[in-house]
Symmetry: D5
Subunit: 96 residues, 10 copies
Amino acid sequence: MLYCVEMDVHIPETWSEEKLKDYITREQQTSQKYQKSGKWVYLWRVAGQYSNISILDVESPDELHQILTELPLFPYMTMKVKSLCKHPNAIRETML
Amino acid sequence: MLYCVEMDVHIPETWSEEKLKDYITREQQTSQKYQKSGKWVYLWRVAGQYSNISILDVESPDELHQILTELPLFPYMTMKVKSLCKHPNAIRETML
Amino acid sequence: MLYCVEMDVHIPETWSEEKLKDYITREQQTSQKYQKSGKWVYLWRVAGQYSNISILDVESPDELHQILTELPLFPYMTMKVKSLCKHPNAIRETML
Amino acid sequence: MLYCVEMDVHIPETWSEEKLKDYITREQQTSQKYQKSGKWVYLWRVAGQYSNISILDVESPDELHQILTELPLFPYMTMKVKSLCKHPNAIRETML
Amino acid sequence: MLYCVEMDVHIPETWSEEKLKDYITREQQTSQKYQKSGKWVYLWRVAGQYSNISILDVESPDELHQILTELPLFPYMTMKVKSLCKHPNAIRETML
Amino acid sequence: MLYCVEMDVHIPETWSEEKLKDYITREQQTSQKYQKSGKWVYLWRVAGQYSNISILDVESPDELHQILTELPLFPYMTMKVKSLCKHPNAIRETML
Amino acid sequence: MLYCVEMDVHIPETWSEEKLKDYITREQQTSQKYQKSGKWVYLWRVAGQYSNISILDVESPDELHQILTELPLFPYMTMKVKSLCKHPNAIRETML
Amino acid sequence: MLYCVEMDVHIPETWSEEKLKDYITREQQTSQKYQKSGKWVYLWRVAGQYSNISILDVESPDELHQILTELPLFPYMTMKVKSLCKHPNAIRETML
Amino acid sequence: MLYCVEMDVHIPETWSEEKLKDYITREQQTSQKYQKSGKWVYLWRVAGQYSNISILDVESPDELHQILTELPLFPYMTMKVKSLCKHPNAIRETML
Amino acid sequence: MLYCVEMDVHIPETWSEEKLKDYITREQQTSQKYQKSGKWVYLWRVAGQYSNISILDVESPDELHQILTELPLFPYMTMKVKSLCKHPNAIRETML
């Protein structure tokens, strides 16, 4: 099942450069692990904002929650989650 | 260039069944024409709502505007448009 | 999979008493059909408002969408849809 | 009487890992005490968010307030409280 | 149990003067019936707005819903409902 | 003249237990001083929230401002202030 | 006592030119009657919007409500009402 | 003096094709008259929406109001008006 | 030209009493300097809130910006700025 | 391609005067570098607010993102980004 998730990142201003880099490195590792597994299908940056729009294809809502909360920056992100389904006008069957 | 567009449809309550069917048929034709051309890459229904989330891959903002305003239901939709770019953590090059 | 759906009803002011009654009767039939099937687990009225809060247990987002759009009043309702999963503190296994 | 309560958790970024664990442990104890007593009927996680949706069955608004403020994380949660009543279309009598 | 209810009235612009007067007369009758019974404790106009703030003292959420939906203007009002309880600093016991 | 004031309290997370207790004690003293004088007519807790709804009967807007800003927690509260007047349907003359 | 009132006008699209002119004429008469009496102290247009910002100096909230509801366009305006008092930094005593 | 104005157009659904065309033609004439005079400096479409963002260079707030209200579609547009001034980092003097 | 400015003050909770007093004293000096010069025409407190509503009569948007940013508390205030012009129903010419 | 970007600046209250000056100096350098290159076409201050409205003319959404994130104050700004295209009523071809 597909979800569209919009993630807005809010880094605490008290973080040092190193702390931020460490988080960003680990964020990348977790994000890419799930992209490689095929669970995290798309990941785009919203132009001009510290936000991304992602498409995830998971087994269950519990798996979605497990993936997102595994992200090191999860506590510092505002999440908008939308559950997706097939649109009657869609001609593409892939990914659904 | 990629856009993520969220479209919420608000059908006027005065429309007859036929008028609505006619609009939906023509909406489908326009939507599928651009899906077939590769401009309208993804089209998903938001579960439980008369809304969709779409990914469009166009030449310019003008082309995006031309495609969306060609939709018969355009005057009856609220649009949220986000301009997308490459995310540093993304591993997939396709579609960008 | 579970969803929490909040539905706010907005009846067009142009409807006659009969039209409203007809819709309400058919709304009840559809709603109770899915309650009896076990898909629509709970249905509560929000006190003082023409709104309800519902818990649905469905096979997929597509099934959720199919049930909600089958409701005659669907075009006249604003839907807030939340995808639910297991809470680590929950002691009850039923319904999940 | 029934309430639907949506709780969004905002952990201060200054907390140490231990402090957070301590709070989470005590939060779980309070939450499960009231689940076992039958007052806290359902507790679900909203997928992808540090939020829950709960159904409580209490004697009075004062009891609801006493239970929620007993939660150690109460000062760090945004609460949306809805008072529920019987829906005319509901077929289930349990819990009401 | 006490509720604070804020009601914003939105009269359809298509109503004739007579229709409006008829509604206002019947609204007054219902409102005063419940004020006399002691259920509708206070009713104030918000200065400069077609809104009121009311305090109701009812047996249950179901009774609150029954009273408010009996108002002829209920379909034309936006309701904000807050369930009230005793404040630790309150010195007055009356009405609670 | 009457005001309905909704106060949402936001305690800074850096406060010690003692500091909080001291504030709450002094808050109570100020609040009860004005309740006893008849200026602060009603004070209710909103169930499940660190908020109250209050009815104040004062001589002027300046007196309202003086009372509210005398509260030790005033800098930590979000205030919604509504000026009230007589409702044409109200049957009770007291307090107005 | 002073109030700042922001009024946004929403003319129904079904009104004829004459009906609108008639309303605007009568609106002007009522507005100027209270300006001349000294109750409606200032009346400004918000540049580029069908809105005004007004300062009224009235005896009571009831008088404010009576004046505003006497305006023919009252049912077609959204009102934001703020009760004003003396600012400690203000050097001007007039109008207060 | 410069203003940035964002205009969102909401065409009533009851309008015929001719009525809409007539309005759009007259809207264009007024808009271009002020572009030619140099008052309406820039006019852009927001991609994917029936909205524009405009930069106007006028003598006074009254002139801004006069220009915008001369637009035939003014009653059907929601306006967001921002008064602009020189930015300390701006290197361009033209238009200011 | 006239502006209506609404200023909401948010004092950081880390400030000492002295720091706050120092800011308030300097705020008063700046505010009164411009009131005496006739630029800052009116200054009112919003009853019950740490906010003010002000009317300023300035030469240009740049002068408005210069005055407001000269206020010591400017970085701690949320500003809502409205550009005002003459209302067709206004009978008073003063100040415009 | 053109973008309209509205940037609201929120300086952390913990910053020293020097730190702020250093950021503002570097912000100016980056901003002026792109103004000189012709990418950052216009930069205006919103009167009375720590905000700006900017028009950027870039090659791609990625370039927009690269420019904005190069600003030292980027992490302390809220960005509203609008993708612009040609308006049918626009008479000016420059910059598009």
